[in-house]
Subunit: 487 residues, 4 copies
């Protein structure tokens, strides 16, 4: 049995050499530091879920490599059912933790993407990347490690490709190829969940030409590898995480995003899965983002479900029936189900790759990314609408004031409605946390921006097929094609 317990996971995390910083301080232990322990607690719940009969089908599966029960986050998606279960797992993970458990999902997409991409490279180039990946994956499964994934480069001036940047480090790149490995420099930024991860799976960017070949690189490293320094980004209201009380109302989940600085990091050969094969970088990214963009619909649906629950609670805490907000609750559920459903459909309409992995339908995956860039924002707005002023911006005195010996009794007296003041405040804080606070994930740009997804919708739209249908229908013979671009 490869599955680890939450305790085993936390112990393993604690053993890592500290190399993360926030607010100018070294984080000695991510499992106890106030700014990381929330996300660690969230990820620990994923371990518990894999062992919990109620959730085991979602969070675990059978290894393609060993036949063992392994975490789904370390498995290759082999079928529509796998991909649909992935969407469901993401939704459930949100229910359990309240926010993004990003320390596993980008890693999961990364290893699935490189499973396909290395298979193709090996077949076409005679390399042995796929075998290397298998070996590492077996190790990862056997130890049930948490692997975050890193794709986004700093990019510098967006008007120029990597090789034409003033500072060549603006995209992570290979500075030396040795017999036994490579040396890389640069950074990956806004990387979700690294605080909760044991290893980090690195993907290249896309759109590389031959001159950018040094940037075509993929590998996996232990988080505490030499030469890697990590600085945590701040997020809204993050200092509350170090406070007492319930102004951060969720203790069993949290989110972190990190800046990873690679200062000439040596990566041993057996952990390298792409090394300058620039023609495959684009495919690696595509294979990464398609399942990501499908499954993220489940994430935001799960977040939306919590908003529905919180909205219902605040209405009742105020002494009213949810019937008075029915129309709005229904709209919230419509939003939730839509992103979930489009992801499920993208999964169902995918196809099998020769490597054994399942490819998500690109059209629907991208349509979903666009919805993820709008519908959850509407859901948040409605949650704030329903919750009244105290939920809209968390407009209540702080926990310190709530328990203040001089005037805490007044704060409590006047925050009471139908429920106790404490319950009402906690519910309102949950709405704030979900919509404006430390629980807000970066779903708009995670897995790429809606604008990029629109371009891909255009590419996948098959407009000439639509034109052919229209022409056939009205028996139009004339050739009416796109005019030649003007000189």
């Amino acid at each position: 049995m490869a599955l680890k317990t939450p305790e085993q996971y936390k112990q393993a995390l604690s053993k890592l050499k500290p190399n993360m910083y926030k607010f100018g301080q070294l984080i000695e232990d991510t499992t106890t530091n106030p700014h990381t322990k929330g996300t660690v607690a969230g990820h620990a719940q994923l371990y518990a879920a894999a062992l919990d009969p109620e959730y085991a089908d979602l969070f675990s599966t059978t290894s393609i490599l060993t036949g063992d029960k392994v975490s789904r986050y370390l498995a290759i998606n082999q079928s529509a059912e796998d991909m649909i279960t992935n969407c469901k797992m993401k939704r459930a993970a949100y229910h359990l933790t309240g926010t993004c458990t990003g320390g596993r999902c980008a890693g999961y997409n990364g290893l699935n993407s490189m499973w396909i991409t290395t298979y193709e490279m090996d077949k076409e180039l005679g390399t042995d990347y796929h075998e290397r990946l298998k070996t590492w994956l077996r190790y990862a499964q056997d130890n049930d490690i948490t692997v975050s994934g890193a794709l986004t480069d700093p990019k510098g001036n967006r008007a120029f490709p990597p090789s034409q940047q003033e500072d060549l480090d603006m995209n992570l790149h290979i500075v030396e190829v040795k017999d036994n490995g490579i040396v890389v420099r640069g950074a990956k930024v806004m990387i979700c969940g690294t605080a909760a991860a044991q290893e980090i799976f690195i993907l290249p960017g896309a759109g590389y030409k031959e001159s950018d070949q040094d940037y075509a690189v993929s590998f996996v490293i232990p988080k505490d590898i030499e030469g890697l320094m990590i600085v945590e980004a701040r997020h809204p209201s993050d200092t509350r995480e170090a406070e007492e009380g319930f102004d951060v109302p969720v203790k069993i989940g949290g989110i972190t995003q990190a800046y990873l600085f690679f200062e000439d990091v040596f990566v041993p050969k057996e952990r390298v899965f792409m090394c300058k094969e620039f023609k495959y970088a684009g495919a690696a990214v595509m294979n990464f983002i398609m399942p990501y963009r499908a499954a993220i619909g489940g994430c935001v649906a799960g977040q939306g479900d919590l908003m529905c629950g919180a909205a219902a609670l605040i209405v009742r805490a105020n002494g009213l029936s949810t019937r008075v907000v029915n129309e709005r609750l229904i709209q919230m559920y419509i939003n939730n189900e839509t992103t979930f459903a489009v992801g499920v459909a993208a999964s169902a309409l995918g196809k099998k790759h020769p490597s054994g992995a399942w490819l998500t339908d690109p059209m629907l995956a991208n349509v979903n990314k666009i919805h993820v860039g709008t519908l959850p924002y509407d859901t948040k707005r409605i949650a704030q609408d329903i919750s009244g002023g105290i939920g809209e911006t968390g407009c209540m005195p702080s926990y310190v004031d709530f328990i203040d010996p001089k005037y805490g009794h007044l704060v409590q007296k006047y925050l009471k409605a139908s429920s106790t003041a404490e319950s009402r405040v906690k519910i309102a804080r949950l709405i704030e946390w979900l919509t404006l606070g430390a629980g807000v994930p970066g779903c708009m740009h995670g897995g790429g921006s809606p604008e990029g997804a629109k371009l891909m919708v255009r590419l996948n739209s098959g407009i000439e097929t639509s034109v052919a249908y229209a022409k056939r229908l009205i028996e139009l013979e004339e050739d009416i094609s796109e005019p030649a671009p003007k000189k």
Copy 2:
């Protein structure tokens, strides 16, 4: 081989005894009458498609009864794949015919619904309805007939149930039960595609109590059965169908909706599938509308695809590149794919019924009905936006004016842009036909209204589960339930 050719289908239709009227005239032969031949041509294409290698997988399948190749429209959906293919078939049917081929799809939903409902009735009540249905279905498959479906009653004053209407005929009902069958009276209204059908499958309404038991009735009849009189409804610009030229630009598709008047029609016992079992009427309706609401997303997606094609054509006919309308085209595709995807997901997340039929996920099916009540309207608006004034309301002189000997040359001279005038007019007429004209189907209310779907979303939302997730997340112990209704 049970599949019929388009010609065989039309011949069979021609042999039916005429009992349909429009504009005060008896329609002698629906295959040639100008107001029905379009929809017959559309349905004939479905026969052709089932025999066409390109489309056969969509439009035909294997009979659960005989193992023969049969039309999918006469098959029982047995799996997620069947239901997904149903969604794809609906989309393809729109591509081929430009509008709703309603003469088959409600019948298809009706027989699938009653497959499940009769199975349950037989099991619980010891009736033999399921066997009757099987026998009839086998006959229908063997003869590859087109079976329309009829659900909507006139309903009269919506404030009262059937048995309390001033005129008891406002809902179709049993007036006599004989040994060998039943006699029914009343009407079914706004029934799609009956002009193209050989038989009609009747479903009961929902919400019946014991006092309404006479209204709980389901059966199937030949269209030309004695006592049935059919009057066709008019639709926008329908008189153009009797004109020469291209003001109706589509000759291979069309839509009809009929009012069916049952004046003491005798239905033989073996064609009766429900007879006063009022407790099952609700289930019959639910089992009908769930797959309907899922698959209708494919219908409107197919219609939207044609709008995209037509929009691209008009832009090019004007001499421009589709690049100038990219943002809007993308939005059209997003709309199309969303309704299609939610239907696919509703299919994928369904489950198997003991009768062997596949049940669609009710939450997603209803969410889709709501989207079908908004997104296609946005798509139409964009099509009109892109097409300019001539597409917006078909603002061009008539075909008669186009070819007028005195001034037709001027009409043509000034309607020419980059393409010929004729092509440009036909494309603009297609946009008019799809958005404001005779090709507009009744998708808003077909399969029930969006408002009804919202109620079902509420019922299926599992709000207490959402509440439980939210409570667990913030460790809220207090019982905060819905307040008791005020006295």
Copy 3:
């Protein structure tokens, strides 16, 4: 007193020499021809309204030229109040006639635009156009004539300007300048309300360079001028206008759009207001569209009000209370009031031109055009949603069937709900007429397309001012400007 009665107006119309065609037939008298009498009846109501104490303040005003009471449609807008009253008049005109009374409003905008433009031309070029316009306007006011306005050229291949078209007639142009006038050739297309007009006011297009100077032309002509041939465009369900009964439920309003063919028409000098001054063509168009785009918000609000009324009626005719559709009715009103309000605000924030005319705020006028391209479509959709299947596509047997001696009683029996069948059908036909039928105006593209309006919003957005506010707020010193375009 310059104001004419409806009867005087119709008599004047009847005296015009017939030169309009539809369906290959010459329209002998627009006041009686079935395809034009509706719009004439609508315009006649405007005359009645100007004389009706309830409406006189909206529909009439005091002449800037004579101090007489004149139709507002022939007056110069001199203040914010005038422009706001214009918005209100448009809304009221819709209430009275059910659709666009386009025979007066584009003429009104045309003469207001040229009032400003000729003033500037005269001042800068020493021409006498402004005086010519005054003289004509005095005549028009004295005779209280209906003047339609024509702006849209056929345009041909949109990739080329007028002077580079293969056929130079694709935009209306001057073919000869004589001592006593000019000769013009070409066409104006999709011109609203010409059937109800006595004269036609011609505007140039925009974007002309010196090589396009022959296209910079503005004048006003009697509708029956020699060399002008008019062909009416068809619109949805227009043949119903020639039928008996209530399938066109509105008899006191209607809409027409015409194609005007100018075959070497001689226009006397005193009716010419621009003759090759290409630099002023753009301003003429801008001065035309700004008030148009403001006031059209009133038009669609008035149409929306009717949809609200019709929706409320159908709900009650079905036996229900409007409370069940409250949420949707409110949304309809929000849509109505929004376009009305943005137009009012564009009026209120305008400014006085030295010529005495009032200039509408360009930013808000264009924002309104964009809303007019979306919100009314939502209102229509909701009206169809509320109205059920019979309103959605007018899914009812025709009037001929309704009164058929053989089965009309059945049609009537089953169309009855709480109200009589006839009332219910008429209400449903009104909804069809407003949303899918002969009453649908061309608001999307009338006064220019939403896409063009977006470009003008961008131009008027003052983005550098926004940038300056943002920079000041965060005390940002660095110069961060738009990058130079790439070579």
Copy 4:
């Protein structure tokens, strides 16, 4: 000259007796406390603006009482122009301060509301409230004080009116009427800008019956009155306000919301404007919210302008042209202009009250509140979309990390794009601050919720008028009215 300088204003503030608390601490001086000095700086800018020739017309006007130049925030709105200028002032105040300067605007609405309401009370009841108000207003103008306004009561269990609450203090109420004044107890909550105010204007709630008469109370008090204790609410990321650096990027604006606890506060008679006249409480609230709901459209437009500016800056800081985000920027401006315009129109279509005050159009004011509950949320979403990951959630290391001696150089190196790292971070922090941070105001519920506004739209919709228009248009004689409610 009654206008004070920013310095005079701050000095006056500093002299107030401290009675505000946050985080368990007494705020000794709101002009220097880190949690209040931002909002004080913002309000000080309003004083500067009234003296600045560029802004004086917006921020000052002539006193109806004395003819002196006074702050517009202390003036009675007497005309459409006054109300339109109010909308413009709100927009400009946002440009200057980046957020809500709530310390003046609710007071402004309060005194305008009570100007009207006291006029009516005096006229009908023979009271002298209007004179009391005049006397106080003259004092307020002469001293150019900042007056915040307080309306929202804690309300307790929303199922019960004030007099039936378990705890009668859940709405502010009169506990004793003395000869020389009244004693009040209870609270007002979520009161904006009190930190920056010298006095507080109290309004009653609405919907009071005779049994609730003790709750019908209005008065104005110095902020440091005996018996009043104020606890500041927290808001997102508020602890950053006490940090060094630019993680709160705006130093010249800020927002606060307070809980006001009245523990038997004595208010002298001459400062009391309503005392148990429960029938006038509803009018007082209506007269308060109408101009509020109109002008708030200007507030959110001003906020939106800043988002446009910030979005343009981040695009350029990344090295790109704003052309690539044109479509989205245009949508942001459309949103901004719409709420602004509807407020302007509500102002323009108002009417004069006998008291001399201007009444805002209630229909449009409420329509605007609904837009304020949706459009700015869309604008925020687009700002986050355009800004990329670093703007979406402010996903960057903290200022402390930015300048960290060990790794600050890496943070800076990799945050640089086309502009400097510091500029780019400040811009991204501005977007965070505006959309997710300490600058987010409570616009959804300020001035009442969108849901309440919908009810008022319904009340003002004049649906029977719409019905009458529709009936007239189709010559419908039958009386089709609302059905009687079922027993």
